[in-house]
């Protein structure tokens, strides 16, 4: 089996605190070149963006790279595109690499589309003859027949992106490296990009692309890797890797914060719906401060589990940021059979203040020792409002803040002042009068 790219023991170290300072040794100028790693490791503290990554990518493969921000995805692509250099490790590749770390990089706004095609080809290391051959295909792909002789500064974003992508895909790359560029543009454009990658794959071309769009990864990739903290955490078929990744992400999310995710299901249970209802069972988007608040959550049990939990994260929606007010967790519930269950959670009146709230819903299925979390894809937004009661009208005082707990008030005597003191005070201190 021939490999398009073989990566062996790739590491990348970013030294810290050298951003502004620059040090070099005169003797490097005359002695044999030191490897970058020696120089960098000598510089002390820093971070390893990639740690010992080894990977073999077959010809004709489309590899999706997923992972959280800061996992090293972009660093890996940058090294493959030669923009950045590795600290350790070797990469052996075969064929022409076209890298799209950003679409439209190197376009000159005041030149026409036609001129930019030729300039951009030069930047990608494509010969003039080849680009002349590919020119018609580029124009056709980008659908810019009418405006190819206009300066690109007159182009809309969509036209600009189309032209940039058309150049890259039509110069017959053997290896295409794309960093989230397939995710820009409208749906039609994305569709076309993905189709083009599919065609490239049929011709035997290899594509590596970083994406946060799991649908794109699962639909066009033949394999995927999940990078975490610079290491390959998981590799295999796209669906397998995506499942592992999402399970991990949501498990983490549920432990830290319940936030809406892309899926509200795992193989054990799914959150079908969550809504705010009033006493009569009607869906509401606002509640009175003085009334009980009911949340109704519909959970479908898909396969036998030991128990299920449901959690609600209640956050107050501020002008610029939201923060959690409280979390309530339902004690475990053991479903006797599969099917749809309705879970009702009531928060007593007077807990919510006159404010906007957002509620995130999560659930966990417990099977044996393991827990499988899911997060409801949507969130509940509602407003609690205070009705002007007679009391409020009389005093003009409204509750403020994020919660208005039912407070108990009482008065009693702590210490009495003597009457004589009171009189002395009145005669001497003008303020007492």
């Amino acid at each position: 089996m021939e490999y398009a790219i073989e990566i062996d023991g790739l590491s990348k170290f970013f030294p810290r605190g050298r951003g502004k300072k620059f040090s070099f040794r005169f003797r490097d100028l005359l002695s044999s070149p030191k490897s970058a790693s020696e120089l960098q490791e000598a510089s002390g503290e820093g971070t390893w963006a990639l740690r010992d990554v080894s990977l073999k990518i077959k010809k004709g493969e489309t590899l999706g790279i997923i992972g959280a921000n800061g996992a090293g995805k972009s660093t890996l692509l940058k090294i493959l595109a030669r923009v950045s250099s590795p600290t350790n490790g070797v990469i052996v590749g075969r064929g022409r690499v076209v890298s799209l770390l950003e679409l439209g990089m190197g376009f000159q706004a005041d030149l026409t589309g036609r001129e930019n095609v030729f300039l951009n080809a030069a930047l990608h290391g494509v010969s003039e003859r080849e680009i002349a051959d590919a020119f018609d295909r580029i124009v056709a792909f980008s659908e810019l027949e009418k405006s190819i002789d206009q300066p690109v500064k007159r182009y809309s974003t969509g036209m600009y992106l189309r032209l940039a992508f058309a150049i890259a895909i039509n110069v017959n790359p053997d290896i295409l490296i794309a960093d989230e560029v397939l995710a820009v543009g409208d749906i039609a454009f994305q569709r076309r990009c993905l189709d083009a990658v599919g065609e490239l794959q049929k011709r035997g071309g290899t594509t590596l692309f970083v994406s946060h769009d799991m649908n794109a990864v699962s639909s066009i990739c033949t394999s995927a890797i999940w990078l975490d903290l610079g290491r390959i955490h998981h590799s295999g078929s796209p669906q397998e890797v995506i499942d592992a990744y999402e399970r991990y992400v949501f498990a983490k999310a549920l432990n830290a914060d319940i936030r809406p995710g892309r899926v509200g299901r795992n193989s054990f249970l799914s959150i079908e719906n969550a809504r705010l209802i009033d006493e009569d069972g009607h869906e509401r988007s606002s509640v009175e401060v003085g009334k009980n608040v009911h949340f109704e959550i519909l959970v479908k049990i898909l396969s036998p589990i030991d128990s299920a939990y449901i959690g609600l994260d209640v956050t107050a929606v501020g002008k610029s940021e939201s923060f959690r007010v409280f979390r309530v967790f339902q004690p475990s519930f053991s479903p006797s059979q599969l099917g749809l269950y309705r879970c009702l959670c009531t928060i007593p009146y007077n807990y919510f203040a006159d404010h906007k709230y957002e509620v995130f819903v999560g659930a966990r299925a417990r099977v044996g020792e393991s827990e499988y979390p899911v997060v409801f894809a949507g969130s509940l937004r509602f407003r609690a409002y205070q009705v002007d009661t007679l009391e409020v009208q009389a005093t003009g005082q409204r509750s403020k803040g994020l919660v208005s707990p039912p407070a108990d008030w009482s008065w009693s005597v702590a210490q009495m002042r003597s009457v004589e003191n009171e009189l002395v005070c009145q005669s001497q201190d003008p303020e007492c009068q």
Binding site: A36, G95, E102, G106, A122
Partner: protein, 281 residues
């Protein structure tokens, strides 16, 4: 990366000078691209645009012309403006080549982080500003000679074979500027101190080189300063060759050797540090 189906490797070793040069030659079309970008950098966000390309040297020369020619009144064999412009024809491109080639990486940060191309192309293609200045200052020089031809009836630039020393002297000077630019280009990518330093050094260097005052003055009062200065030779040879003086080619030996060393070390320095620099820009 341009060879079809060819095998390539990426390793954590630094480039050698010859690798840099070969790679740059394979991508020579990019020299034009970045030269164009650099020229746009000069006129970017100005409303006068290309006018600045011309008025930059003029506004630089006029005060010096007034101060040295009409306030201090140095004795030169020929009208001071002719003498001064001949010197400036070499100094100003030198100044600009050093300054702009040092900004090669700094001015292209964005594209450097997204695309790979031989980076050595950047400082070299930025020399275009110096070449444009040769044309502009050259025209000003010819104009000055022409004006004094009409005023005095004498042509100060005799046509003779010694004229050929002038381009050679110019090449020695510009080679030195590029060599320095290669060092400062890496430094300037790390901190802006480099750009400030260049301006200060150039200011001092300008005053210590006999451009706006006679060479004899410097030779008589501070000969050591004259012989240490690697621009003294090129400027003397250049001006003598242009203005019909006696040319002393031996003056070029020390500057030429120094230029070669600085240029080679500069290439080496740039090739070594270019890759680690990109991570930090």
């Amino acid at each position: 990366m341009s060879m079809n189906q060819a095998e390539w490797t990426i390793r954590p070793v630094m480039r050698t000078v010859s690798q840099s040069i070969v790679e740059a030659w394979q991508n020579r079309r990019l020299f034009g691209y970045f030269a164009r970008e650099c020229r746009k950098l000069v006129t970017r966000r100005t409303s006068l645009g290309n006018f600045w390309l011309v008025s930059r040297p003029v506004s630089h020369f006029l005060p010096h012309l007034l101060l040295f020619g009409y306030v201090l009144r140095f004795e030169t064999e020929m009208p001071f403006p002719v003498y001064f412009m001949a010197g400036m024809l070499m100094w100003y491109p030198f100044d600009q080549v050093w300054f702009w080639s040092s900004r090669g990486i700094d001015a292209n940060r964005k594209i450097l982080q997204k695309l790979y191309f031989p980076r050595i192309i950047l400082p070299v293609s930025h020399c275009i500003i110096g070449l444009i200045d040769i044309l502009i200052v050259g025209m000003l020089f010819i104009g000055t000679v022409f004006v004094f031809w009409i005023l005095t009836g004498y042509i100060y630039v005799p046509l003779r074979w010694e004229l050929l020393w002038a381009p050679l002297a110019m090449m020695v000077a510009l080679g030195l500027a590029l060599g320095l630019g290669l060092f400062f280009c890496v430094w300037a990518a790390h901190s802006r101190d480099a750009i400030f330093s260049i301006r200060i050094i150039l200011q001092a260097w300008y005053l210590l080189t006999p451009i706006a005052y006679p060479s004899d003055l410097l030779l008589a009062r501070a000969p050591l300063l004259a012989y240490v200065n690697p621009l003294f030779g090129p400027i003397s040879v250049f001006r003598d060759a242009l203005l019909g003086g006696e040319v002393h080619p031996l003056l070029l030996v020390y500057p030429a050797v120094l230029t070669t060393i600085v240029l080679l070390l500069g290439l080496r320095f740039f090739s070594l540090y270019e890759r680690d620099t990109i991570d930090m820009v």
